[in-house]
Amino acid sequence: MIKLGVPSKGRLMEKTFEWFAERGVQLSRAGRDREYAGTVSGAKGVELVFLSAGEIPRELAAGRIHLGVTGSDLVQEKIVNWQARVEALAHMGFGHADLILAVPDFWEDVVRIEDLDAVSADFRARHGHRLRIATKYHRLVREYLRDQGVANYQLVDSQGATEGTIKQETAEAIADITSTGETLRANHLRVLEDAVIHQSQACLFKSNQSEMTDQEAGDLKELLKTLGL
């Protein structure tokens, strides 16, 4: 059976179901709400696996599922050398969110990423430690800042309520996912003009790590044809 990993709840699951339905494949969650079993019609040999969107990258990288729907941000953050391990088959057009860098709004001298670089050297000289950026996207942010040539910073881990870290003085800047920016404004933060680290959306990924029987390979080919991929 071709294992297709899909988000197990919420808007992301509904949108995924809609996307497949528009292409002639009906996905649904069987039985009661608490039961994580699904049915697939319109394609044969495909089995649904319900997972949290955050677990799907790991399962793809390990080859335990053949296909998976999740955010491109999660794949790029969680899978080392993601291009070698998974392939993005389709950008699905929903789940849009930008990974951005934000600083206190009253830092009027910090408008662009190069300002952050200039300020980080001064900050370190004045405060005795490097300017801290709170995030849960360590790999994406570090790679971005290395590309941009920003050096005197340090990442601090924040798995939630990242916007609050600056007021609590556990960080000076944040890198986080935002779709509207309202939470940022409410926390007196402003996005750097040119610092969009990653523009994420839901994608259908194929694992390059999973073994397939001839039967499965045939079913996968059929499924992709039905989906128009």
Binding site: R130, Y153, K167, A171
Partner: protein
Amino acid sequence: MSITSEDLSLAQNLVAGFQARGAARVEAAILQPADTLLDLYGEDIRARAYTTADPLRGEQMLRPDFTVPVVQMHMQASAMPARYTYVGPVFRRQEMDETRAHEYLQAGYEVFDTDRAAADAEVLAAIIDALGPAAGAVVIGDLGVLMSAVQALPTSDARKNALSRHLWRPKRFETLLARFCGDSNMSASHAALLSPDWQPSEAEQIGKRQLSEIEARRKRLLEDRDTPSLPPETAQRFEDLLKISGRPHAALKDLRALGAKMPGLDQALDRFRARLDAFEAAGIDLSALAFDASHGRDSMEYYDGFVFSVFGKNADRFAAPLATGGRYDALTTALGGGQDIPAVGGVVRPSDLREALSHD
């Protein structure tokens, strides 16, 4: 690709060779405090080193190399001149190229001596000698030349410091240099901030960075706005400088020729010349050496003078070098709280060396 007993015995031979040159053998802990390494190398080291959390000792890293612990050891003994050798496994995460070993041996030779040219030559000779018949092409560079060129620019200290800080980040360096040549202006995105009737923002002042720091930066931006642009040909001169490569004496001639148009290189080039003389005195075959002005620029910001890489005799041009090294005076200054302790060293990768020797 784990360390074999053959690698270990070859590594012991290398160390014995370095000891025969007068080096004291030293050991270093595998677990190193992460703070020191992070302070020196920046956040990038996290992508390359393994970090562990110890509830009592705080964050520790599996040593990514021996340089920091060896320098710290030297600070405590602090007799000059001094020579050290060591061998042991180092640990690197290999997220970019997964085929590279994440645990491998390094055998090293480090010299702390105020006669810089002689010490540079001594280390390079020791490393080439250690590689024996496997030693092939040797690429040398000199970050000191680039630094001198920056320091001699007719511009403000703030601009020179910004360029020096980004010597190891070519893209940022080029952007800054282009801006200082009048290509674009930092003040464009700061029009409101730099206007004479600027008032601080009414947004809530949150976090550790104070309004006074913003005002101080504003002052610096104003000064920078009034700093005259560098002559437009400066960027081209740096590009020319970074492209210089070839046999050492031919490259020196090219550098001298460029020096006629680019002030401030004379002293650095005199040092370069003295180093070549020291190479010859140490019996290094100059015809096996190739100079590359940009060599060492893409490594960790660590080496700040003479740098070298020695490749295997039959290695293809994309192969990793068998040995690398260079001068790291700024690192010793940072670790030594401002003391000036000239230091140069090199490391051999015994596993790669054994493989190269077995292909002969």
